[in-house]
Amino acid sequence: MISKNLSAATTKPIILGILKQGNSYGYLIIKKIKELSDGKMEWSDGMLYPVLHRLEKDELIKSEWIMAENSRPRKYYQITPAGQEALMVEREQWLQVNSLLDALWDVKPTI
C-alpha cells in the first residue's frame, strides 16, 4: 500500500501523465490510476476532483463538456502545452528522486 502523503504528492504527475496519453474524464482517470497501481494507492475517488479543478485553474489542463447521444454527458480534460511542460519538470524531479533512492539501496555487497 502506498501511503496517503506519497499518493497526494504524486497526484499531479500521474494525472498529467494520464492526460498526456489522451483526453479523459474523471471516472476514467481514476479507473486508470487504480489499474496501473494495482489498487495499491490509498486514494479516495473524490479527492481527484479538487486536484483536477486546481490544475485547470492553473491552466495546466482544460476541460469541455461532451454530450454524446448514447451515453451520459462527460466533462473531458485535456492537457495544455503548459501542462506538458509542467509534466516534464515533474518527471525530471521524480527521476532525480528515483536515482537517489537507487544509489542508496542498490549498494553492492562488499566482499
Binding site: 473524490g46 479527492m47 486546481r54 466533462k75
Partner: protein, 867 residues
C-alpha cells in the same frame, strides 16, 4: 426497498452544504458515481451494494470541500477589487442616489463639511502650536538654563531667568557646553531725524547667539558683534520702518540718546518662536558699562541659553551643572537644569519671569479632543441617516445579491460611496477653511496665510493630512452602513415591505445619545469657562484697576511730573511705584525679622510705593498707617508677610531688609501676579527712585485724560516721547490665553450642537416620512394635532433626556479638573447645569418640532390617497 435514485439525491445533498462546490462540480461528481455504479452492476453487485461501494470509494466529502475551497479561494479574492466595470456602475448608482435624495445628501455633506472644516482648522492650530521653535536647525541641542529655588515651607519656586555670570561660567567649565548666550529684554527709544518711537521688543545677546539659533542674517554681518559695543542688528520689518528705501548697513541711529551703528539685517522672527525680537544689541556693552554684572551670581534677570555638543547626554550634564549657582554664591538655595527650547512654549512648569509667548499643552489637548469629537458627531450623522434609510436601498442590495454580488463587493460599493461623499465634503471644507481663515487667525491669534500653506513643502504635508482625514472619515462613517446594508437578505427585500425603520434602531438611538452627550459636555464646558473668566476679570484684586492710566518717567525728574499732574482737572490722585501692580517679580530671601528662625530661608516679594500710591489704587490699610511724605526707613507688609513672620503686632517693629526698616502698617493682601497663583508674602518699601506713575482719573474724563497727561509731559520732558497704557487693558492681555480659549470653545460648542441637530433633523425628517400613513390614519380616527406632536417628539426627547443624565456628571468632572488650575475659581453651580440642560432641550425640541408640526398638520387625505 432500496431506491437508487433517492440515495444518489441524498448523497448529492451532502455537497450542497459546502460552498466550495458549484453546480458544475457537483454534476461532475454525480456522473462519476453513476459511472462507477454502472460498472459495479455489470460486475454482478446488487444496486445497494454497488451504491455503498461507490460512495465508500469516493471518500469523505468534508476533506474534499476543504481541499477544493482552499484551491478556489484566491480566485474569488482576485475578483474583489478589480472589477473595473462594476466601479463605473457603482459610481453611476451613487451619483443617482445623491441626486435623487437631495435633502439627505445635503444634510450629510453639510454635516461632514462642518465637521471636517473644524478638524482642519484645529489641525492647523495644533500643528502650529506643536511646531513652536522647531525651525532651529540645532533644536535638539539647544537648551534654556532655568532655576528651581527652594524656600522653607514653600513649594518649589521655578524661575526662568538666571544671574549674568552663569552663562560664561557654564561655557568655560563644561566641555559639553559648546555655545552659550545670554538674552535680556531691551526697551529703547529709537530716534532717526524727526522719527521718535519707543521700540520695546529688543534683546541684548552674546555673539554666539548667531551660531546657536537659526535666525538668518540677510544683509551685513554679525562677525565683529562682540568687539563693537554699539552695534545694532535689525530685523527686516524694523529696517524697512526706519530705512524704507536705503541700505541700512553702516548707518547710525540714536537709541535713547546714544549712537548705534547697524551691522546687519535679519529675517523677521517667525511667529512660532518663543523668543521674539525686532532688534538685537550687544551684551558686552552692558558689561563694559557695569562691570559688576560680569560677576553677578545673586540677582536673576536674564535668560541663559546653551548648546550641547552632539555627544553630550542631557541627564549627565544636568547632574554636573545642578549646583553651579550654589558653588559660586554662598547661601544660595537655587538649583539649575537645562530645559529643551522646544519645551518652552508648551511646557507645564509655571516659571517666574517667563517669556510672553507662552501657551499651555492643555489647550492643545482640549482642542484636539474637541476636533475628534466634532468629526465623530458628523460621522454618526452619516451612519444614522444611511442605516435609517437602508430600506430604500434594500431592493438594490437584494437584486445585486441575486445576480451574484458577493458581500465583499457590496461592502466595497457602499464604502466607496461614503468615501465619494466625504471627498465632496473635503473639497467644500477646504474652500470653507480658506474663506474663514482670516477670522480664524484673529480668533486663534495666528497668522496662517493660504499662499504659505500651499508652498511645496508644507503643501504636501497638508495634502497628505487632508487625504488621511478624508479617507479615515469616509471609512469610519461608511463602515457601519456598508456592513449593515450588505447584510440584507435578498429574500426579505424582494418580499415587499418586510424591512422597516426598526432595523438598527437601537444602535441609532445609542449613537444619537452619544452625540448629544458630547454636545452637552461642550456646552457645560463653555458656560463654565465663560463664567470663570468673567469671575477672574471681576475678582477683587485688592485694588481697583479701573480708570487708571500709567506711564514711566526718568526717575530723577518724575516728581516734577506728579506734582504737575496733581493740579490738573479730572485727575483724582497720582501715585508712584517701582512695579506694575500685576507683575511684581522682585523677591529676596535675605530679610530678617524679630524672632526669625535663623536656619530657615523665606522668600519675600517686594516693591516700592510712595505715600500716594495706596490711595490711588484704593488699597486698604488694615493696621497702622500708610506711608507719610516724611517717612524714611519705613516699610509696610501685607497680611501674608505678617502671617509668615508670625508677629502679633508688627506695627512699630523693626526688620532688616536692605537696612533697618520700621514697619508702619499692614496692607490688605492684593494680587501682584497672575490670578492663577496665590498671593505671596510681600514687603513694601518707600523707595526714592520710582519711575512708574499711576494716575486715577474721573470716569467721565476717559477721553480727555491722554491729552491732559501728554500736555503735562511735554512741559516737563519736551525732548522725550510720551507713551502710556491703561491698566485695565493690561489685564485683558494677561488673560488673553483664557479669553481665546473661551471664545474658541464657544464656537466649537456651537458647531457641535449644530452638527448634532443637523443629524437629528435628518433622522426626524425620515421618521416622519415613514410614519406619514400612520399619522394620517391617526388623524382620521380623531387624534388632535397636540396628541400627534407629543407622540412624535416624545421618542427623541427621551433620547435627549438620557444624554443629559449621562453628560451632567461627565461635564461636572471635566470642568472641576480645569478649574482646579486656578487659585481663585468659581464653584460649579446647579444653575449652570440647569441652563445647559434647558438650552439642549429647547434646541432639540425646536429641531424636532419643525418636522413634527409639519407632519401632524398635514392633511390626512394626502397621506392616504395612495392606499
Amino acid at each position: 426497498m432500496f431506491d437508487l435514485e433517492k440515495s444518489i439525491k441524498s448523497w448529492l445533498r451532502l455537497f450542497q452544504k459546502h460552498r466550495a462546490f458549484n453546480h458544475g462540480a457537483i454534476r461532475e461528481m454525480e456522473l462519476h458515481l453513476r459511472d462507477h455504479i454502472d460498472d459495479l452492476l455489470t460486475q454482478g453487485y446488487t444496486q445497494q451494494q454497488a451504491f455503498d461501494l461507490a460512495v465508500k470509494e469516493f471518500g469523505e466529502i468534508k476533506p474534499m470541500a476543504k481541499e477544493a475551497y482552499w484551491s478556489q479561494r484566491p480566485k474569488s479574492n482576485n475578483n474583489f477589487f478589480i472589477h473595473t466595470t462594476m466601479l463605473k456602475n457603482y459610481f453611476k448608482i451613487a451619483v443617482r442616489n445623491f441626486i435623487k435624495h437631495k435633502f439627505y445628501t445635503f444634510v450629510n455633506v453639510l454635516g461632514l463639511t462642518v465637521g471636517l472644516s473644524t478638524v482642519f482648522m484645529i489641525g492647523l492650530f495644533v500643528s502650529d502650536e506643536l511646531g513652536f521653535d522647531q525651525f532651529h536647525e540645532k533644536k535638539e541641542l539647544l537648551y534654556r538654563v532655568v532655576e528651581n529655588q527652594y524656600y522653607d515651607g514653600q513649594p518649589v519656586f521655578p524661575v526662568a531667568v538666571t544671574p549674568d555670570a552663569l552663562g560664561p561660567s557654564l561655557y568655560e567649565e563644561y566641555p559639553e557646553i559648546v555655545h552659550f548666550t545670554r538674552a535680556s529684554g531691551q526697551n529703547y527709544n529709537f530716534q532717526l531725524g524727526d522719527l521718535k518711537i519707543a521700540e520695546s521688543n529688543g534683546y541684548m545677546v552674546d555673539e554666539q547667539f548667531f551660531e546657536m539659533f537659526s535666525f538668518p542674517i540677510i544683509k551685513g554681518t554679525a562677525a565683529d558683534f562682540k568687539e563693537k559695543h554699539n552695534t545694532l542688528i535689525l530685523t527686516k520689518d524694523l529696517s524697512d520702518k526706519y530705512f524704507p528705501d536705503e541700505d541700512p548697513i553702516g548707518k547710525s541711529i540714536k537709541l535713547s540718546g546714544e549712537d548705534f551703528v547697524i551691522s546687519a539685517v535679519m529675517e523677521n522672527v517667525p511667529k512660532n518662536s518663543h523668543l521674539y525680537f525686532t532688534y538685537l544689541t550687544n551684551f558686552e556693552k552692558s558689561i563694559s558699562e557695569n562691570p559688576g554684572r560680569a560677576t553677578n551670581w545673586r540677582s536673576n534677570g536674564i535668560y541663559t541659553y546653551v548648546e550641547l555638543s552632539e555627544q553630550a547626554d542631557l541627564t549627565e550634564v544636568n547632574k554636573k551643572v545642578i549646583n553651579q549657582i550654589k558653588k559660586n554664591s554662598e547661601g544660595s538655595i537655587t538649583d539649575i537644569y537645562l530645559q529643551p527650547i522646544t519645551d518652552i512654549y508648551l511646557g507645564d512648569v509655571d516659571f517666574v519671569v517667563e517669556v510672553s509667548r507662552k501657551s499651555q499643552m492643555i489647550y492643545v489637548q482640549i482642542f484636539s479632543i474637541v476636533a475628534v469629537f466634532i468629526l465623530l458627531i458628523s460621522c454618526i450623522n452619516f451612519m444614522n441617516l444611511s442605516t435609517a434609510r437602508s430600506a430604500k436601498r434594500a431592493k438594490e442590495v437584494g437584486l445585486r445579491k441575486t445576480i451574484g454580488a458577493q458581500r465583499s463587493q457590496l461592502i466595497f460599493q457602499f464604502l466607496s460611496e461614503s468615501v465619494l461623499l466625504t471627498m465632496t465634503a473635503v473639497l467644500l471644507s477646504v474652500l470653507l477653511v480658506a474663506l474663514v481663515l482670516p477670522s480664524f487667525n484673529q480668533l486663534a491669534n495666528k497668522d496662517f496665510v493660504i499662499q504659505e500653506l500651499l508652498t511645496a513643502e508644507s503643501g504636501f504635508r497638508l495634502a497628505l493630512g487632508i487625504l488621511l482625514v478624508a479617507i479615515a472619515t469616509g471609512l469610519i462613517a461608511g463602515s457601519y452602513p456598508a456592513l449593515f446594508l450588505s447584510s440584507t437578505k435578498p429574500i426579505d427585500t424582494l418580499n415587499a415591505q418586510s424591512i422597516t425603520l426598526k432595523r438598527g434602531a437601537g444602535l441609532r438611538k445609542a449613537l444619537v445619545i452619544f452625540q448629544f452627550i458630547i454636545s452637552i459636555v461642550l456646552v457645560i464646558g463653555t458656560i463654565a469657562i465663560y463664567q470663570q473668566l468673567s469671575f477672574i476679570q471681576n475678582v477683587d484684586l485688592g485694588y481697583n484697576k479701573e480708570n487708571i492710566i500709567y506711564t514711566s518717567a526718568p526717575s530723577s525728574q518724575v516728581k516734577l511730573l506728579t506734582n504737575e499732574l496733581r493740579g490738573q482737572p479730572g485727575i483724582i490722585n497720582v501715585g508712584r511705584s517701582s512695579h506694575h501692580p500685576a507683575y511684581v517679580l522682585s523677591s529676596s530671601s535675605g530679610f530678617i525679622w524679630p524672632g526669625q528662625n535663623a536656619d530657615e530661608t523665606f522668600l519675600f516679594h517686594y516693591m516700592g510705593m510712595d505715600e500716594h500710591y495706596p490711595a490711588t489704587m484704593e488699597m486698604n490699610i488694615l493696621e497702622g498707617r500708610s506711608f507719610l511724605e516724611a517717612d524714611t526707613a519705613t516699610v509696610m507688609i501685607n497680611e501674608k508677610a505678617k502671617a509668615m513672620m508670625g508677629l502679633e503686632n508688627p506695627v512699630g517693629q523693626t526688620i532688616t531688609a536692605f537696612g533697618e526698616q520700621r514697619i508702619v502698617g499692614v496692607i490688605e493682601d492684593f494680587n501682584f501676579k497672575s490670578i492663577h497663583s496665590e498671593i505671596e508674602p510681600m514687603v513694601i518699601f518707600k523707595f526714592d527712585r520710582m519711575n512708574r506713575v499711576y494716575v486715577k482719573y474721573e470716569p467721565s474724563q476717559k477721553d480727555a485724560i491722554v491729552a491732559t497727561l501728554e500736555n503735562s509731559w511735554n512741559k516737563i520732558f519736551p525732548e522725550r516721547e510720551f507713551s502710556y497704557d491703561f491698566l485695565e487693558e493690561d489685564f485683558q492681555e494677561l488673560y488673553e490665553a483664557e479669553q481665546r480659549t473661551s471664545t474658541l470653545s464657544t464656537y466649537f460648542a456651537i458647531l457641535a450642537i449644530i452638527v448634532s441637530c443637523l443629524g437629528l433633523f435628518g433622522l426626524v425628517s425620515y421618521a416622519m416620512e415613514q410614519r406619514m400613513r400612520e399619522i394620517g390614519i391617526r388623524k382620521v380616527l380623531g387624534a388632535s394635532v397636540s396628541n400627534l406632536f407629543v407622540l412624535l417628539t416624545g421618542d427623541f426627547t427621551k433620547l435627549i433626556l438620557i444624554s443629559l443624565v449621562i453628560s451632567m456628571p461627565l461635564g461636572w468632572y471635566a470642568m472641576n479638573q480645569w478649574l482646579n488650575g486656578f487659585a481663585y475659581h468659581i464653584e460649579l453651580s446647579i444653575g449652570m447645569f440647569v441652563l445647559s440642560a434647558f438650552s439642549a432641550l429647547v434646541i432639540t425640541l425646536l429641531t424636532v418640532s419643525y418636522q413634527s408640526i409639519r407632519a401632524s398638520t398635514n392633511n390626512p387625505v394626502r397621506a392616504l390617497r395612495n392606499e
